[in-house]
Amino acid sequence: MLGRTDSRGRLLFVLLVFIMTGAGLVARLAYWQVAQQPMLAARAQDQTLTQVSIPSRRGTIYDRSGTVVMATTVDRYMLEANPNLLGSDAAARTQLTNDLIGIIGLDPTDAAAFNQKLNSDRPYVILAHDLDQPTADRLQATITAEGAGNGVDIATEAARVEPQVGGAPNSSLAAQVLGFVNRDGVGQYGIEQYYQNILAGRPKIVLAARSIGGRPLIDTAQVVDPGTPGQDITLTIDDNLQLAVEQEVMAAGVADSAVSVSAVVIDPKTGQVYAEASYPSYDANNYAQTASGEFVDPVISDPYEPGSVFKMLTALAALQQGTITPTSIVDDTGSLSLDHGTARIYDSDKKPMGRITFEKVLAFSRNVGAARVALGLASTTNGAASILKATWDKLGFGQPTGIDLADEAGGTVHDPAIRPWYQLDLANAAFGQGVAVTLIQLATAYSAMVNGGKLVTPHVVAAIGNQPVAPTPGAQVISPTIAATLTNLMSYVVHTVPWYAAGTLVKGYLIGGKTGTAQIWDPHMNKGLGGWMTSRFNNTFIGYIGRNAPDLVIAVEIHEGKPLVIQQGNLPLAVESYELFRRIATDSMTMLDLHPAGSGTPTSSNP
């Protein structure tokens, strides 16, 4: 009928536009897929592949026998889930949740958390850790039976276990020495932290494609670095003695209502630590439920004012200066006015013993006598202070001993060269107030006094893999003669004072030592001004036991023990520090098979 009104020419023009556009798109496509292809593909590979580090098997820690496992790594299982893949059937989901909770055996609180996780909308949740093989098998069977294999999965994980039971309830053996390993495979505290690299080895590094959830697909992995397995470690710790010492410190801690009790047994000739224990301790298998304060090993990490055990350092300084001999007469006046009458120190009982020999000053722990000896080290206060401070430095106070455990503290020593000491400072220093040290520092210093004068480095690792750790020869810090004198002085102390003799001597052995009862400065007292605690003290005893010569140095500390009676100069504890020393000394001789010279067995029966 009637004609077309559209334009043929314009239609053809439109077609031309489309063809040109299409050609342009192909050209642009070729630019990306041919010209830029290598760059894009390389970037894409970088993004698609992810580098995964697979931990190598962690080394096992053995006791000094090399047979008792202190800490090892085992395969455990964890239950993981993608709740989004569980399907929408609410009844089936509830059934599954309840079945899984039942198999794992969760208490109502944990079950509620479990339930919440399984019903969240997160793509990945870990429902339970540390499942053993039978539990994992039962869980797998249930998951399969209920057809939840898409959403719930069981994966292996490495778990660190400390199989030896400790001396106190709910503790594992040597927990504070060993430390523990967190879920990331990183050692925390103690040996696990200090020897992290050796125990963990080098992880295996693989390149793997990412799964849909962004997690690496191990099936696709190509190994970049095979890594090295962790090395085993053999300790110097004797597991039997460690257990006995843990039991002893716990018993003392309970009896004395102490905040903590610590003890360390070391070989003064080599620095090997046979036992190192504190009460309270914790269960490293259950570290997540432990207050973090208990992870810290007080023996190496808690400096405190040592008290009269430091009189041995004063004695050492005076003997080296030649200002005194054990039999020199010192006037114990009961109290002493210092700094032109502005300060005064007292003996603990505030009674004078008169003119007595220096050995008696040590034996009866006369503060005034020790102070007079310290003041007499040089003609000036500061000169005397420098000499005393130099003696401390030589024996390692004020710096870590270098024991192979994490978080060792160095203590606090004031340097008279920086701020000059008053006479009061020097007098206090003579009997161990105004200085903070750790128990391991004391044990190390006393070792030098009884081993002929060598400052050894205490250590807890005897061998790494099959390689024994060579002990570093200690520097000669005390002349052998003076060391012998000091050893004899310690022996004099425990033999002269009747209650020490009753509390420390073990038949058939050489025994010597020194007590210390220190006041505790509480910075919170007197509305923050600080003050000395009146009813609690730190009781220390450091002594040696041996057959022909000192075989072991044992340092014990009862921290904030509560005396039975508060009396001037008489603060009896239910278990005194020197009694605790004797118990541990007896245990040590028995368990380390160090039989007394010329006799059969030591006091208690053989294990």
Binding site: R4, V26, N150
Partner: protein, 423 residues
């Protein structure tokens, strides 16, 4: 009535009808549809189903434990679309002229309904989907494309040469065209709005619109789009488009992932189902807006080039059908449908190859998306219906087209200045 309808002798098949008392009925003379278009479109759809599965299976599995969660509906919609296509082939496309106004009004109503909070479903920050009860969500902008093409074809054919006039052609055109475009922009769906706007412009151009008007409208559109782009997240898209590498993990991430997928594909591709970036986790919207990147990764430059070639074939055959259409309406309808599908495809691909900023429109026949797939297939059905009635070049009666006095050419005698429109 149409110029090509003719009286034919009753064939054996319809002799019975003829005998029943209508021997002189006006009948359509039809032949086979354009199989090239049919094959190209079915090939694109089949490829689409394959690629949607390849690109969505993993994510669907992660999201709902069912790797068919996205491709399943796609197959159903594809089947529905093919049925709609086969039906449209058999329907006389002229009947659409009767439907054109209701279709246009319906599209406007749907677009307005999107703004009713009870019905809309917000996807990616835009209220683009309409959800009524438990029925599957539909994308009203897809309906709007078809409605505009049909109504414009009808109206432009009816207006005839008067489309050149400002008051009788251009202004009424704007009254039809602008509201629809503005409603889609307001969703906001700039990508679909530009497809609709360009399609309308192309149709006015083909229908013989005044070049001055077209130029003005184009200028206005470019100005408007520029102004629009310079605010909010649109500006951010431009910034990324200019330099996608400036922020590989944040804003440029989407564009870069598409390019990385193309890079992994190379010339021959990684193979079906082998896409790492696109079919895996890294590429967002892999199964719809960025499905071309998946094709590029799995089939390489060759496969992606074939897809572009198929769309060029569609454009070529579509224009041929338009040229040979028996009437102006058919010609404009065929041209409009062709223009719409090709513009949308080319914009989508241009986004993936980082020629234009990210817009968020589907690749026709291929991308996941029920509304887009089924309506595109129905539109191809209309195109094929027109192709059944194409006439030989020699019989094209454009020789009679009266382009008005001023073209200086001979014209058929006629009475007065009555416009050359016919039913």
């Amino acid at each position: 009535m149409s110029v090509v309808t003719s009286l034919v002798k009753p064939t054996v098949r319809n002799r019975a009808t003829a005998r029943r008392g209508a021997p002189n009925v006006v009948r359509r003379e039809t032949h086979a549809p354009d199989y090239v278009v049919l094959v190209a479109v079915v090939a694109l759809t089949a490829m689409g189903v394959l690629m949607v599965y390849s690109s969505s299976a993993m994510q669907a599995y992660a999201g709902s434990a069912n790797s068919f969660a996205i491709v399943g509906p796609q197959v159903v919609w594809g089947a529905l679309g093919l049925v709609a296509m086969m039906a449209m082939i058999r329907v006389d496309y002229r009947r659409l002229r009767l439907l054109s106004i209701p279709l246009y009004i319906g599209a406007i109503v749907l677009l307005v309904l999107v703004f009713v909070p009870a019905f809309n479903r917000v996807v990616g920050g835009s209220a683009r989907f309409l959800q009524v009860g438990s029925l599957p969500a539909v994308h009203p902008a897809e309906v709007a494309k078809l409605a505009l093409v049909v109504y414009l074809a009808h109206w432009l054919a009816k207006r005839g040469t008067e489309v050149r006039s400002f008051w009788k052609g251009f202004v009424p055109f704007l009254l039809i065209y602008v509201p629809l475009v503005l409603l889609v922009i307001a969703e906001p769906d700039l990508g679909t709005a530009s497809v609709i706007a360009l399609t309308g412009l192309f149709m006015l151009f083909i229908a013989g619109g005044n070049m001055a008007h077209l130029a003005a409208l184009t200028g206005l559109g470019v100005t408007g789009v520029t102004a629009f782009l310079l605010h909010g997240y649109q500006l951010e898209r431009i910034r990324i488009w200019l330099n996608p590498w400036q922020d590989t993990s944040g804003a440029g991430y989407h564009a870069i992932q598409g390019l990385l997928a193309l890079g992994l594909g190379g010339i021959f591709g990684a193979g079906l189902g082998q896409s790492q970036v696109a079919g895996g986790i890294a590429l967002p919207n892999a199964s719809n807006d960025f499905i071309f990147a998946v094709i590029g990764e799995e089939f390489g430059l060759v496969g992606a080039g074939i897809v572009i070639a198929l769309f060029i074939i569609l454009a070529y055959q579509g224009v041929r059908i338009s040229l040979a259409a028996p009437d102006t309406f058919g010609a404009l309808l065929a041209a409009g449908i062709t223009a719409w599908l090709c513009i949308q495809a080319f914009i989508n691909i241009a986004v993936v190859v980082a020629l234009i900023p990210i817009t968020g429109i589907t690749l026709p026949f291929i991308s996941a998306g029920g509304s887009s797939l089924s309506i595109s297939l129905a539109a191809v059905g209309i195109l094929l219906s027109i192709s059944r009635e194409t006439v030989e070049r020699g019989t094209w009666n454009d020789a009679s087209a009266d382009r008005g006095r001023r073209n200086g050419r001979a014209h058929l005698p006629r009475s007065g200045r009555r416009p050359l429109t016919s039913g």
